[in-house]
């Protein structure tokens, strides 16, 4: 909502600068995106009313006029001009040398085709008051030459760019903003503009409401002997500065009143209507060509304005082309109305058509303001188009009655956390238009949708006291700040992987394909929720490697989504990593994670299409391996573990065993086994055979060679034996050792190497 300050100040008398107004609004009412200075920025004294004393064709240029203009100095100024819509005797708008035009151009004395030109006779676009450049501005003959142009035309202004929230439709009007400014800064709000001119005739208008749910109020007014032409510059200037294009005096008046009061209006060419107008739902398949030239096929939910034969407009959104006011229009039917918001919103969405009108209706316009809007528009049409007002009708469904809400001032103070005296609360609400009655506060009609409960009244009070609210902390009786176990575990895994050289990345939740597809995807690559993470890491890994980064190792902790047939998918936290280098890289990272969490993992050979067939393992919680070269060029490893499963597996308490005071016996054992016997199975078998004396066991070497034989390898283990009872000797350990050798021979045909 763009609000020219000169317009705003017509409705509110307030002793405050523009900056103060902007600040007060932005804190108390709605965001102020900015304040723009528009129009003439420089010295305004160089813009004058001029009287054209002489005007003739430029001797050396067919398209230029050479004029002599009285600008209130002791001699006339010579000005060369390209427009021909005036002659000697005209009063014109002149900019003298040194003047800066709104577009930044600084005028200079200069020669045009050999003749000196001392300034410029201005067209409306050169003053940023309109879009017309077909001729210069011709002013009222009664004006004295030399009069400052700023006295005659709105040369400069400031424009507030306000962004009201959806609950404040009243702020989509200059008058509504003025009301707010008056309340915030203690100014005086002047009465709403507009008073009915003398009615000249009593014709029936013939309007009706067929759908009282969609249309609460329909006012029609007839105007005869209309002369369609251009609106005056002051009005065009305000429309322009409010971001609305000028079209013709009749259409401009409807837009001007909408901006002023917030209630959109529409004007029809009465002679093109077949009978009166009614607000009704469209017939399925009914068509209307809207003002933008688009033929729209309507649905039965669309509200239309229709004459006796057809729809003549999409109610509240856009009028129809066939009944549009044009230069030849002589009689006008003016519509002021009130439409229900949600229906307008849906229609506007359905037809992808948003207008200044729909933007207001969809937020909920005060139905009571429609009457004043009709009045003001009638007044302006009579004044500006020479029309006679010949008929009026106001059809109303049941308008909502203003609510009366009780306010407990102590409840307000309690919730705000600041003692606000009851009288001050009443005073604030009074300034905002709430009427204090015995039973409570009567909500003004323009706030009826937003303020329905006591807490809404409290907000009204609070927003006037925001700066005074003190800074306190809740007085707590219970404190319980701690990360959950899962959260602590995630942090732990993050830290472990960072320590292992992995850099954390964040990749998108979406993938191209999967079980959980979005009906309306973001893009072809973002069309489904991912069930695994590692695949999302491949692209960043490749790109970083291509960019020349060394030691590329990436990990991510995020959710994965699994369709299990319920209403909602299951969400599992996963951790995945991708690193340059072979199987050992992934193995190391996964070992670190398990070790940190105190879980003893079991590794088994596995196969996945994306993994190297001979270098892939799985655990109970996930997998790891070297990536298949077809997945990522070069040698890369990867892993992915389910963090929820890891949390499940991680011991909650540490199982601690007493340390023996007696020295341990350490022995190395090497066995030759078949190639396909996994080391882990041998380890497990040793543990089982060794019994209670075994303290530690690890595999520390793998060896292949001629003396071992084809298809065989040697695995070396280091074992430590000990007892809490006393020092063990080699003799104590010998039987244990023998049973290990036996067990391995039986199970794996393993042979102890000397």
């Amino acid at each position: 909502m763009k609000v020219p300050l000169s317009w705003l100040r017509e409705y509110v008398r307030v002793d405050a600068t523009t900056a103060e107004i902007a600040e007060a609004l932005s804190v108390g009412s709605a965001e102020v995106e900015g304040v723009a200075r528009v129009g003439v920025q420089g010295e305004p004294g160089l813009f004058r009313v001029g009287h054209v004393v002489e005007a003739a064709k430029h001797p050396d240029a067919d398209r230029l006029q050479l004029t002599s203009v009285d600008v209130g100095e002791d001699r006339p100024y010579s000005i060369v001009c390209g427009a021909w819509n005036f002659g000697a005797g005209a009063k014109v708008a002149v900019a003298l040398p040194g003047a800066t035009l709104p577009d930044g151009l600084v005028l200079e004395r200069r020669k045009l085709r050999g003749k000196v030109s001392e300034g410029m006779i201005l067209a409306e676009d050169e003053l940023d008051l309109g879009g017309d450049h077909s001729g210069i501005i011709v002013l009222d003959d009664a004006l004295e030459p030399g009069t400052p142009l700023a006295d005659v035309l709105p040369l400069a202004d400031e424009v507030l760019d306000l962004e009201p929230t959806g609950n404040r439709p009243d702020l989509f009007s200059v008058y509504g903003v003025a009301r707010e400014v008056a309340a915030l800064l203690g100014g005086e709000l002047l009465p709403m503009p507009g008073s009915d001119p003398q009615q000249d005739g009593d014709e029936a208008v013939g309007i009706g409401i067929d759908d009282p749910e969609g249309c609460l109020r329909f006012i029609g007014r007839l105007l005869r002997d209309v002369t369609v032409g251009e609106a005056p510059l002051w009005l065009k200037g305000r429309l322009r500065r409010s971001g609305v294009r000028a079209i013709s005096n009749v259409v401009d008046v409807t837009n001007y009143v909408m901006l002023a009061l917030g209630s959109p209006l529409h004007a029809y060419d009465l002679d093109l209507l077949h009978g009166g107008l009614v607000a009704r739902r469209a017939r399925k398949g009914e068509k209307v060509r809207t003002l933008d030239g688009v033929e729209r096929t309507l649905s039965a939910e669309d509200l239309v304005i229709a004459d006796g034969e057809r729809a003549v407009g999409l109610a509240g959104i856009m009028g129809g082309e066939e009944t549009e006011v044009s230069s030849g229009t002589q009689s006008v039917l003016l519509e002021a109305a009130n439409f229900e918001p949600v229906g307008i919103l849906r229609s506007s969405e359905r037809h992808s058509l948003r207008t200044e009108g729909s933007n207001r209706w969809e937020k909920g316009v005060d139905p009571y303001v429609a009457g004043q809007a009709a009045t003001y528009a009638t007044q302006l049409l009579v004044e500006l188009s020479g029309a006679r007002w010949t008929g009026a009708e106001d059809v109303q469904a049941e308008l909502p009655k203003p609510a009366v809400i009780r306010l407990r001032p102590e409840r307000a103070s309690e919730l705000i956390g600041l003692e606000v005296a009851a009288e001050e609360q009443s005073e604030i609400l009074g300034r905002l238009g709430f009427k204090e009655l015995k039973s409570g506060f009567r909500v003004p009609t323009w706030r009826a949708r937003d303020v329905t409960r006591e807490v809404d009244l409290i907000e009204e009070v609070a927003r006037f006291k925001l700066a005074d609210i003190p800074f306190t902390l809740p007085r707590r009786e219970a404190m319980f700040g701690r990360l959950s176990r899962d959260q602590r575990l995630r942090r732990q895994v993050e830290d472990v992987l960072v320590g292992a050289g992995y850099g954390e990345v964040y990749t998108p939740t979406f993938v191209a394909d999967g079980d959980l597809r979005l009906p309306e995807p973001l893009s072809a690559e973002a069309a489904a929720l991912r069930a695994v993470l590692y695949a999302s890491l491949l692209d960043p890994a490749r790109r970083n490697a291509d960019a020349g980064a060394g030691d590329v190792a990436l990990f991510e902790i995020a959710r994965t989504y699994h369709d299990v047939g319920g209403e909602l998918p299951e969400e599992h936290w996963h951790v995945a990593g991708v690193a340059d280098g072979g199987f050992a890289e992934a193995k190391w990272a996964v070992e670190q994670v398990y070790a940190a969490l105190g879980i003893e993992p079991g590794y088994e050979r596995t196969s996945e299409p994306f993994l190297h067939p001979g270098k892939a393992a799985r655990t109970a919680e996930g997998w790891l391996g070297e990536l298949h070269p077809a997945v990522l060029d070069g040698t890369w490893s990867a892993f992915e573990l389910d963090l929820d499963a890891l949390a499940e597996a991680a011991p909650q308490v540490v199982a601690f065993a007493e340390v023996s005071p007696y020295p341990e016996v350490r022995q190395d054992l090497a066995f030759v086994v078949d190639e396909d016997v996994p080391a882990a199975e041998v380890l497990a078998a040793i543990r089982e055979a060794a019994g209670g004396l075994l303290r530690e066991l690890e595999v520390f070497d793998e060896y292949r060679g001629e003396q071992i034989g084809e298809g065989k390898r040697s695995l070396a283990f280091r074992a430590a034996f000990g007892s809490l009872e006393g020092t063990l000797t080699d003799e104590d350990v010998a039987p244990v050792r023998a049973s290990i050798v036996d067990a391995l021979a039986t199970r794996f045909d393993a042979v102890l190497r000397a």
Binding site: G417, V455, T509, L518, L529, A547, L568, D580, G614, V699
Partner: protein, 344 residues
């Protein structure tokens, strides 16, 4: 001899395709290629000498078909050779990392800047006695919209703004649904911060990304006030942006709070004098906040005035952008190590 007449295109093609199929190694395939597509092959010679257009086209079609067959077969054989080679490379996956091959000595990695900020925010609120709640990301519209007081017509409900998974399931547009679940599971005192990914249908630009992270606080207890909200935010902002920071409220509108305010923090860059970071206002917008709308109490079946509470929400990426001076939000998702490795 007439090289063109010597060629029977149909037969030549059959022969060539048969030879392609018969090649079982890349070497055999190369031999066949020389024979059928080499410079001195019957086909190439005929193509060189052919004069009439129709025969030329026929021969070219044969050449194309044969070339395509060679290419496809080569791909198959390469893949097969690769698989064969891979099959011979086997490790004992149960061996410790130190025994299954070379491993790099890598420099320490880094946490993502969003994680650094997330941890910091978590720690600040843990210190204030809040619990941290993750919540789920796919939510029903009941929890994502209805429970939070979003009216039927609210634009956030439109698929133009929100990512729907089903008719009544969405990717959460804020982390607030976790708060409703919490309220349903226990009575106050509730002091919690929900934190995690949220989703909006946005085009990717320097300032918008369809996925981002939010942290949202909720405090419900006896006698919570707007002043408590203001004081809590002041504490948090000073922890994040320095002890000199000030906080102010601007009125706003959110469906789930009443009154609703946007908190601003005084600019840490210029101290309030005005600069590019604060858009010359001296204040930086931090997010949304307000007093919990009694509608939420009604939704979970509590009395409207049994408790009072406040809620606020802010962006993790935005916080990181302000903390580290990161201009472009896409940097958080591009995963360029040259960027990420600076966050230590």
């Amino acid at each position: 001899m007439d090289t063109v007449a010597a060629v029977d295109p149909e037969r030549l093609q059959q022969e060539a395709l048969a030879a392609v199929a018969a090649a079982s190694t890349l070497a055999e395939l190369d031999e066949a290629r020389v024979q059928y597509l080499g410079r001195r092959s019957a086909l190439k010679l005929a193509l060189r000498d052919v004069r009439d257009r129709e025969t030329g086209m026929t021969l070219n079609a044969v050449r194309e078909a044969v070339e395509a067959a060679f290419a496809a077969r080569e791909e198959d054989l390469r893949r097969a050779e690769l698989e064969e080679r891979l099959a011979t490379e086997r490790v004992d996956v149960t061996l410790p990392a130190g025994l299954v091959g070379q491993r790099k000595l890598r420099p320490r990695g880094t946490l993502h800047p969003s994680t650094l900020v997330r941890r910091e925010v978590e720690d600040i609120f843990l210190g204030l006695g809040y619990e941290i709640v993750d919540g789920r990301e796919v939510e029903t519209t009941r929890y994502n919209f209805d429970a939070l007081g979003f009216p039927e017509w609210h634009p956030a409900r439109s698929p133009r703004d929100t990512l729907y998974l089903g008719d009544e399931t969405v990717l959460r547009t804020e982390t607030s649904p976790a708060q409703i679940h919490k309220m349903e599971s226990q009575r106050p005192p509730i002091y919690m911060v929900s934190i995690g990914r949220v989703y909006r249908r946005d085009d990717i630009t320097a300032t918008r990304y369809p996925i981002f992270h939010q942290f949202e606080g909720l405090a419900i207890d006896d006698g919570i006030t707007m002043a408590d909200l203001k004081g809590t935010l002041l504490y948090v902002m000073r922890e994040l942006y320095g002890p000199e920071r000030e906080v102010r409220f601007r009125t706003h509108y959110f469906p789930f709070t009443e009154p609703s305010m946007e908190p601003d923090v005084s600019c840490f860059n210029c101290g309030g004098a005005g600069c590019a970071i604060c858009k010359h206002s001296g204040w930086i917008e931090m997010g949304g906040s307000g007093i919990v709308d009694p509608y939420l109490y009604e939704f979970v079946g509590w009395g409207l005035e049994e408790y009072s509470g406040f809620a606020f929400g802010m962006g993790v990426e935005r916080t990181a952008q302000l903390r580290y001076g990161i201009g472009d939000i896409r940097a958080f998702w591009e995963n360029d190590l040259r960027f990420l490795r600076q966050f230590r």
